[in-house]
Symmetry: C2
Subunit: 161 residues, 2 copies
């Protein structure tokens, strides 16, 4: 299977990765969440080559994750902002940051701290159950085939309800 066939898989991760699974794309999204909006800033802050930044920003716009807004007419200049679909990636980014902080902080501590304005504390995201609200222990989570897999070969492997 080639990567451009991957979004055909009945798997939400495969489909997600077909849009955001590129490493530079995820760094550009990191920047978008740090409120970077302009092409030159994306390029400078990620260290990526300009043609690469241009390509990935276009793809994010095409995927509906960023939207382009003109902020200056002469010469024409656009900025890129997260759409609701893009903002909804916040838990993915937070989870990546926290994992990186835990396992790759170089002994120096977290490069960036998150502060929860609601309570005023430095924090990280902890996954909690959408049904009962308690903190999730990975060993307490099982999977089963959902409606999107019904009738497909993978359903047997995943196990059904």
């Amino acid at each position: 299977m080639k990567w451009d066939e991957i979004d055909q898989q009945p798997c939400s991760i495969a489909r997600a990765l077909s849009e955001i699974g590129d490493r530079w794309t995820l760094l550009l999204l990191r920047e978008a969440f740090l409120r970077t909006r302009r092409f030159a800033d994306f390029a400078e802050r990620t260290g990526a080559a300009r043609n690469l930044v241009s390509d990935r920003l276009e793809k994010l716009v095409a995927a509906g994750i960023l939207e382009r807004r003109r902020y200056q007419e002469r010469p024409p200049r656009d900025e890129y902002r997260l759409t609701p679909k893009g903002l909804d990636l916040h838990p993915v980014i937070m989870a990546l940051v926290h994992w990186g902080d835990r396992w790759h902080d170089d002994g120096r501590g977290a490069p960036v701290e998150h502060v929860h304005r609601t309570c005023g504390h430095v924090m990280h995201a902890e996954p909690s159950c959408s049904a009962c609200g308690t903190r999730i222990d990975p060993r307490e989570v099982t999977v089963r085939a959902g409606p999107g897999l019904r009738g497909l070969p993978d359903a047997d492997r995943i196990g059904s309800a």
Copy 2:
């Protein structure tokens, strides 16, 4: 900047992505969380070419995310299991699945459902604040330079405490 310099950035996401930012790697990790352990199963279930599976599994072992255990001597056969560092990626995987479910379910519903054994319900992960426990609204999260960024040029941009 080239990708293999990316883990030099004082950014937890960049460092995380240097280990898991490859798309096939994330699909292999999806499989590991579905309890896939053997080489042939990883290859079949991701649809990736065998040389690619081999390369990515080696890298995950080198990164301490998977560990290799021999389960048969003649002929020698190994299986791959998540280490604590690997298990700690559960929130990343859960967040990716949920985003894919929300934005890419194809109208058919989630391919895979997660069931929380603790409460018995189908669920997804919701990020909650590690300090106060309330559900996180992304607009309520601000960032500031942490100890790992002190004295570096990026610290000014992120803003300090």
